[in-house]
């Protein structure tokens, strides 16, 4: 047989890895009940594809080929393990695996166990950053190197983090399952917070570094899409997807060409991605119609009002203020209050806002946006020395370069 051109094999492997990594892995973990082994044998199967496909041709179903090859490698590995004879559960698994008939080129149905995979990676017993890394590796299929770079971590540190997390799943007995109804809400919240964390990491990365980094925002959106497909009744998952799309739609206008942060008020709205806004808005409307409202949907609703306003002044501040009130009832926090009071300052004027803001001085004393908001209200009231003092406080509290540039610019303008 003639050997296939390398480019064609490369493309086929890239495609199957990109499209079916997580589903294949999820099915393997379900069958083999061993996270690390599943990942190792899947990786091995990909290497085998590199060796075998150029001569033998690309199989009819590349995903089945990888899955079956990985399973066979797993059987070999389990057999070779030391003290294997004494490990009854492993023998049982092996027996199950071996008793099935297999044909590598047939288009066998590979079960989709990704929902189990997601809930396991985001189990609350796993530390948040480890869940983040594990989810990006297992569900998004990013390499350790890519994840390390995305979080500006050492590859070896990240590798250890992943290994520890997988060991914890085994040693602590974290179940590989979709949570039962009584745990559903709590566990879904844990998954959503991991996805939103990934999104925010990507969103806050400044533009210079961002060029080198995997687009975490897009990965988070992809994760939320998978989740909403697998769990269509989870309205908060749809809410989060809508929220991220609505935020992401505005990302091109957040940083100017000098790397300076531009607040919403001054963003060039013609740069906003209309298609993403429409999509986010449509997802939000459909999820709100199911009448199971939660914090992500409310935040998405607020974001949608901003996205649809033609400018800052004509934004529907009255609705926004009410939505923040509802959000505060569900998830009381001084940060929610801060945003609500900013909305009030747009309705009743800066003095009203400033009076309300004073109530938050204690809980938000080291929260940069609080001082930036206070500075802005004072500026609007022409209280220049007070405004300057608040901008200076805000500047000391941020390590984000884009925000620093913005605040320095503000100070410079007021002094000038």
């Amino acid at each position: 047989m003639n050997s296939l051109p390398a480019a064609k094999v490369n493309a086929a492997i890239d495609l199957v890895v990109r499209e079916s990594w997580s589903q294949t892995l999820s099915a393997l973990v379900y069958r083999i009940r061993d996270f690390q082994l599943s990942e190792d044998v899947l990786q091995d199967a990909i290497l085998s594809a590199w060796k075998s496909w150029p001569n033998k041709g690309i199989p009819n179903s590349p995903q089945s080929w990888l899955y079956q090859t990985a399973l066979r490698k797993a059987i070999d590995q389990i057999r070779r393990r030391e003290n294997f004879e004494s490990k009854r559960p492993q023998i049982e698994i092996l027996h199950e695996l071996e008793s099935e008939k297999r044909n590598e080129d047939s288009d066998t149905e590979i079960p989709d166990e990704r929902l189990r995979l997601i809930f396991t990676c985001c189990h609350p017993a796993i530390e948040k950053r480890s869940s983040v890394a594990l989810t990006l590796r297992a569900v998004c299929g990013l390499t350790t190197k890519e994840i390390a770079r995305a979080f500006l971590d050492q590859e070896s540190t990240l590798g250890q983090r992943l290994t520890r997390a997988k060991r914890k799943i085994r040693d602590a007995g974290i179940p590989y399952r979709v949570p039962p109804p009584e745990l559903w809400e709590e566990r879904l919240e844990s998954v959503l917070s991991v996805i939103y964390f990934i999104f925010n990491e990507g969103y806050q990365a400044s533009s210079g570094e961002a060029l080198l980094r995997v687009d975490l925002c897009e990965e988070a959106i992809r994760l939320a899409r998978i989740l909403t497909q697998l769990a269509p009744t989870a309205t908060e998952a749809s809410g989060l997807l809508a929220l991220m799309l609505l935020h992401h739609a505005r990302h091109a206008s957040r940083i100017d060409e000098n790397g300076e942060f531009i607040p919403l008020e001054y963003q060039d709205r013609s740069l906003w991605n209309r298609a993403e806004i429409e999509e986010g808005d449509a997802i939000l409307k459909s999820s709100l119609s199911k009448k199971s409202v939660g914090p992500y949907q409310i935040q998405a609703a607020i974001s949608a009002l901003h996205a649809k306003a033609t400018d800052w002044e004509s934004t529907d501040w009255i609705q926004i203020e009410r939505l923040y009130e509802t959000l505060h009832r569900l998830q009381s926090s001084p940060v929610v209050r801060l945003n609500q009071y900013i909305a009030i300052s747009m309705i009743d004027g800066p003095q009203a806002g400033l009076t309300l803001l004073a109530q938050l001085a204690e809980p938000l004393t080291s929260y940069q946006p609080y001082h930036a908001a206070k500075a802005d209200l004072r500026r609007r009231l022409s209280q220049i020395p007070e405004a300057l003092a608040s901008y200076q406080t805000a500047l000391k509290l941020t390590s984000n370069q884009a925000e620093q540039k913005f605040l320095q610019h503000r100070i410079h303008t007021l002094e000038g």
Binding site: P89, I169, I174
Partner: protein
């Protein structure tokens, strides 16, 4: 899997040493204990005497030193434990949350490391190993 559910609390914060409140908590412990025993998942359980009765032993350079009190000077002390067989961490968490002491103290869940060949689990969803 086997788990140790360690009950920690500040001795001074235990709601009551006697009286109706104490009896109510005591009855809750009795009921919980009876339940885990009936289910056949209790491998061991015990309340512990207060820290005032504690001794700590160290062997250094071949000789044993004994000191009064617990090993670590922490606010919360170990007050008792349940050693349970649970199908996975979620089940252990659910039991831990029902121990009365969780309401004023905290329950530490420690999976027990298996050195001997593991026995087959109780079915249900498997926990993947790493």
């Amino acid at each position: 899997m086997e788990y140790l559910l360690l009950i920690y609390g500040e001795e001074s914060k235990v709601p009551a040493r006697e009286g109706p409140e104490h009896e109510k908590i005591f009855a809750e412990y009795i009921a919980f204990t009876a339940e885990v025993r009936e289910k056949g998942i209790a491998l061991g359980l015990n309340p512990l005497e207060p820290v005032s009765s504690t001794k700590t032993v160290r062997v250094r350079n071949g000789s044993a030193e004994t000191t009064d009190g617990p090993f670590a000077e922490t606010k919360e002390q170990l007050a008792g434990y349940y050693h349970l067989e649970c199908k996975d961490l979620d089940e252990a968490i659910a039991y831990a949350a029902r121990i009365p002491g969780a309401r004023w103290g905290s329950i530490e869940i420690r999976p027990i490391r298996t050195l001997n060949p593991p026995t087959v689990g109780r079915g249900g969803d498997p926990a993947p190993s790493a």
